[in-house]
Amino acid sequence: MSDCATIDFCGEKLLAHPMGALFWPAREVLIVADLHFEKGSSFASRGVFLPPYDTRTTLKRLSALSRRFKPRTVISLGDAFHDRDAEARFDLEDSALLTSLIGAHRWIWVLGNHDAHPPGAFPGEPCAELTLGALRFRHAPGGDEPGELCGHFHPCARIRIEGGVQRRRCFASDDARLVLPAFGAYAGGLNILDDAFGRVFSARPNVWALGAGGVYLISDRLFVPEAGAPRLRAGA
């Protein structure tokens, strides 16, 4: 598991994978956030023809993680579908791939703001939130009790190293809450220095940046704010 970082969170050991997923070995649970299926075709309907392979890319990454960790349960932390019509725009092949992935696990859809309604074309267990042992699963931060895992914010860090800046998706957590990076191939990002995170974390969070072959704990001294306004909206 050398490409994963171990995050100790509320007494549980969680493995953070460079693709942006968490694996919880004790319960054999794989957790991903903000898949944003069919974001590409959502743009296409407005005349911006992004390559129509974002859903497929996201699904292939999920399949690879499923083979690697062999989880019993997969939890999608909301905003799995980019908009209400996203399911209808699925290509047949992608549709089959998702259905077979769901069939191979206990599959839980925590619902988010982009997909407030449970999917109609795909099986799986929809819910607004979920508690497993010491951990609570929500799309967006919702409670004061510790042990909350959520997505929604698409955290990214801009890291200044040796005179250059790298922009990376990241995990962020304080003692009470852990925010996952967006997993979807076309999902954007919100800078970890944005004010929004001040309301999510009570203390300065630890931040793990995703590299190509590893997940790295990075000191907040190296973070750089986003230069250009306007900023991306959270969860956009």
């Binding site: 075709s41 296409a44 309907s45 407005r46 005349g47 911006v48 023809f49 992004l50 390559p51 129509p52 392979y53 974002d54 497929r56 890319t57 725009r89 290509d91 801009r158 890291i159 200044r160 190293i161 040796e162 005179g163 250059g164 800046v165 790298q166 922009r167 990376r168 191939a185 076309y186 954007g188 990002g189 940046a209 590299g211 190509a212 072959g213 590893g214 790295y216 704990l217 990075i218 000191s219 190296l222 750089v224 704010p225 986003e226 230069a227 250009g228 306004a229 306007p230 991306l232």
Partner: protein, 661 residues
């Protein structure tokens, strides 16, 4: 203009105008093109017989002097610091001098140095592309009114209107090309019967050779040849959308019109159709977007845009210049609410590299970076401090093939050494003694140990870009041969590779074989940040990534972010897509300089000359002095992250131990 994407778009526009107004007359001007035939084809939209060529003859030959120092010539660097005093004297002796430099950072340094010598208080001004437009206009106006004695400038003053009565042009550092130098010299003295005066100030030994070669070329009236250009596909896509917005069209008619434009004369119908399909709905093999087509074929066989939104997209995106993400440099005001004057703009990556308190040279002043506020970098003046970070990158032009060839011949021909300054004669003489002087068509490769490393240095003279690509590919090969290369350094003239093992026994013909331009190049490019940037520019021009929304301008950073994601997904699923092809062509002609590199490899095939030495050779000294500049990239970004992370973890453990004690 002709050899760029702007030129492609203009050619398409000319072809369109000719269709609308067949009697259109176009006039082109050039002082720097050796072969007028391609230009005639360009201007006449494929009917060169209809064009008339007027050659201006006569005019006094320019008088070009190369600054000679028989005492000291630096081994490396480009600033020509050693000659600032003489530059100042030359300015004093002239009415109005243009001091040309090759980069913006060099402009700032030179400007500062001249003012520190300026005991007479001569009005000397600064002009480069990062300065605020307002400020540049003021300098131009002052030149015209004859109020200035000198302007330190970059290529921003290469072209354009004749400001002021310039009587001397000084070129600091290497001129890079005969045409370019001719153009710059032409800034001085526009009367046909009086010679233009120019002074070239080489910054190092190789630049002396380059300056001498350029002077000879200018005196002979020789110019660099330029390759004819293949029109860019992203520009074509933009034009097709524009045509669809203008009115219904038949593809066959548009194809005929487009191929009348010189850059697209060789365009295949298949490529055209693919570009059309790209415009209509992205041109992907997976045809899920058919129902979203923005250009549709009517029952009459004509293509038209489906709605007004497409036309608006086109209008918002028209043009071929993609700006790098930039940040305003602004003086901090007395209160946070009232920021001060804008001094200019700088690339975002440069500002990102600064921490508050860092000082740098900009707009002729030493500035302290305070903080970011939105898209403004707020700075204060810090005149007494030594600027810590005095440079940022500027445009790098490789020296032209033509000039490089002249330099190689000068080195090979001992009779020409006599016209060189003494330090150069001694330098080349010593090289002949301890190593070799290559013939003009040979590639000299030296191997030697130095400190506890082994070096391989070669001298193609093909420019930094081609050398950088060569270095990247050679190190991959040496790695496979088990020679453990550690890094490489390209300069304009030579390339140095170093590693843990002696590279003297390597089969050089195999090492420099042309087949390196295959898979090795491919796998390196996959990770290249420059390749992603190139793709982003193509995606913007082709209209895949919008540069602006109605009423809102997207910041450069947002564009670059989403374009990276698109690039990765597209490469994985459709590697032969039109946009990837366009980006590849740009990279090959741009930062990779593949044309140059493959010509280099073909030229030296079977003509390798190896010198196994026991120490650094005289020719190798300049590149050895620059060695700490570059290392192997690729894995480097990841390695940096890993190290940064390791530091945090170790610090955490230290704290943990302290707590336990």
């Amino acid at each position: 203009m002709v050899g760029s994407k702007r030129g492609d778009l203009l050619a398409l526009g000319l072809a369109r105008l000719r269709k609308l107004a067949p009697s259109l007359r176009a006039t082109g001007l050039s002082a720097t093109v050796p072969d007028p035939a391609p230009l005639l084809r360009y201007l006449s939209s494929g009917a060169p017989d209809a064009a008339e060529l007027i050659r201006a003859v006569g005019g006094a030959r320019p008088v070009v002097r190369v600054h000679h120092s028989d005492s000291r010539i630096p081994w490396s660097g480009h600033s020509a610091r050693h000659a600032f005093g003489e530059v100042y004297e030359a300015i004093r002796g002239a009415r109005l001098t243009l001091v040309f430099v090759n980069t913006r950072s060099q402009a700032e340094l030179t400007f500062q140095a001249l003012w520190s010598l300026n005991e007479d208080g001569l009005p000397i001004a600064l002009h480069h592309g990062s300065l605020d437009v307002e400020r540049r206009r003021k300098v131009e106006a002052a030149m015209t009114r004859g109020e200035l004695r000198a302007v330190v400038c970059t290529s921003t003053l290469d072209l354009g209107i004749d400001w002021g009565d310039v009587d001397l042009v000084i070129q600091m550092g290497a001129p890079k090309g005969a045409s370019r130098l001719t153009q710059r010299i032409g800034r001085a003295n526009h009367r046909m019967d009086e010679p233009s005066l120019a002074l070239l100030i080489p910054g190092n030994r190789f630049e002396v050779l380059e300056c001498l070669a350029a002077r000879d070329a200018v005196e002979e009236g020789a110019l660099d040849g330029e390759l004819e250009r293949q029109g860019a596909l992203d520009v074509l896509a933009q034009h097709i959308l524009g045509m669809a917005c203008a009115g219904p069209f038949a593809p066959a008619d548009l194809f005929a019109e487009v191929t009348a434009a010189a850059p697209y004369a060789g365009l295949s119908r298949d490529s055209f159709d693919r570009a059309l399909e790209f415009v209509a709905c992205g041109g992907y093999a997976l045809r899920t977007y058919d129902r979203f087509r923005r250009v549709v074929k009517g029952p009459d066989g004509l293509y038209r845009v489906r709605n007004a939104a497409a036309a608006q997209q086109y209008r918002m995106n028209v043009g071929t210049i993609v700006e790098a993400p930039a940040v305003n440099v602004r003086l901090a005001g007395k209160t946070a609410l009232r920021p001060g004057r804008k001094l200019g703009t700088l690339e975002e990556w440069f500002i990102d590299g600064l921490v508050p308190g860092d000082t740098f040279l900009f707009a002729g002043e030493i500035l302290r970076f305070e903080t970011m506020a939105g898209n403004d970098a707020l700075v204060t003046r810090a005149p007494t401090e030594q600027p810590k970070i005095p440079t940022w990158n500027g445009a790098k032009f490789p020296l032209t093939t033509y000039l490089a060839d002249r330099v190689r011949r000068m080195i090979a021909d001992r009779r020409s050494w006599s016209s060189m300054p003494l330090p150069l004669r001694e330098w080349l003489g010593l090289q002949a003694e301890v190593s070799e002087i290559p013939a003009p068509d040979e590639l000299l490769v030296e191997t030697f140990p130095y400190t506890n490393r082994f070096f391989l240095v070669c001298y193609p003279f093909d420019g930094r870009l081609a050398h950088q690509t060569l270095g990247m590919l050679l190190t991959r090969r040496l790695e496979r041969l088990g020679l453990q290369p550690l890094g490489f350094t390209p300069t304009e003239y030579s390339l140095s590779v170093w590693g843990r093992r002696d590279m003297g026994a390597v089969d050089l013909d195999a090492l420099f074989d042309e087949d390196m331009l295959g898979d090795d190049l491919e796998s390196w490019l996959q990770e290249s940040v420059l390749m992603k940037r190139t793709f982003r520019d193509c995606a913007v021009i082709a209209g895949l990534v919008e540069r602006r929304h109605p009423g809102q301008r997207k910041s450069g950073r947002q564009v670059s972010f989403s374009a990276d994601l698109i690039y990765e997904v597209l490469r994985e699923h459709e590697p032969d897509h039109l946009l990837l092809k366009a980006a590849w062509r740009d990279a090959a002609g741009g930062f990779l300089d593949l044309a140059r590199l493959s010509a280099l490899l073909a030229r030296v095939k079977g003509r390798m000359r190896h010198a196994a030495l026991d120490r650094v050779s005289p020719l190798a000294v300049p590149v050895m002095l620059e060695i700490n500049r570059t290392t192997i990239v690729g894995e480097a970004q990841e390695a940096m992250l890993r190290e940064a992370s390791q530091a945090v973890i170790e610090e955490g453990m230290r704290r943990e131990r302290l707590r336990h004690h």
